[in-house]
């Protein structure tokens, strides 16, 4: 059974700081997706990473897929209050989700 472990579960930092959150598995994934979910709304797709070692940038967000395609990271530079939300990674043909990292950026 494929599992995705996300860490940390919770993260609260000041505006302007940098942060990294992680999505790890013991299984190989053909691709991983990152979603952001805001309170009262559904998750919104941010990015899909496909190739081992791939790096994708979305403004201040940088996503990396591990060389072995078993893990991924999301780095946010100069976090803003608008980055607050639940960050979820997902993947697999059975579409499994990690339990998420709840991020809170303090103004």
């Amino acid at each position: 059974t494929q599992l995705l472990e996300q860490s940390p579960q919770f993260l609260s930092i000041q505006e302007g700081e940098n942060l990294t959150v992680y999505c790890n598995s013991s299984s190989v994934f053909s691709s991983l997706q990152w979603y952001r979910q805001e309170p009262g709304e559904g998750p919104v797709l941010l990015v899909t990473v496909v190739t081992g070692g791939e790096v994708k940038k979305l403004k201040r967000l940088t996503f990396q897929f591990g060389d072995a395609r078993k893990d991924s990271s999301l780095h946010i530079t100069a976090a803003q209050p608008g980055d607050t939300g639940l960050y979820l990674c997902a993947g697999g043909s059975d579409i499994i989700f990690g339990k998420g990292t709840r991020l809170h950026i303090l103004p």
Partner: protein, 114 residues
């Protein structure tokens, strides 16, 4: 212009009742899904469905059944509601041809069973 819509947004009902949640997508996708998100925000797939194939998560009780009148709609029927069914239910869609199963989610339906 909403891509994936669900109704109702909130549903409060008594234990033992039967209820339905409706979902519609206007993205032209051929696969639709239902997810359950519990109080700890854990998102778990319940069903995936296209016009040829229904895949059921084996952990879902048979009180839950998806009904698809056409490719753009996938409704969720729940019989004999139980307290543990209280959660937020999300509908989603994707293009089956997308190898990566990228999901487009609706806004969710918060179900409270009293």
């Amino acid at each position: 212009d909403t891509a994936v819509s669900q109704t109702p947004k909130y549903l409060v009902t008594q234990m033992g009742n039967d209820k339905s949640i409706k979902c519609e997508q206007n993205l032209g996708h051929d696969t639709m899904y239902w997810y359950k998100q519990d109080s700890k925000k854990f998102l778990k797939i319940m069903f995936s469905y296209n016009n040829k194939e229904l895949i059921i998560n084996e952990t879902v009780p048979n009180r839950f059944s998806p009904k698809s009148p056409d490719k753009a709609h996938l409704n969720l029927h729940i019989n004999s509601l139980e307290l543990g069914d209280s959660a937020v239910y999300f509908c989603a869609s994707s293009h089956r041809q997308s190898f990566h199963n990228e999901q487009f989610f609706g806004p969710g339906t918060r179900l409270t069973v009293l």
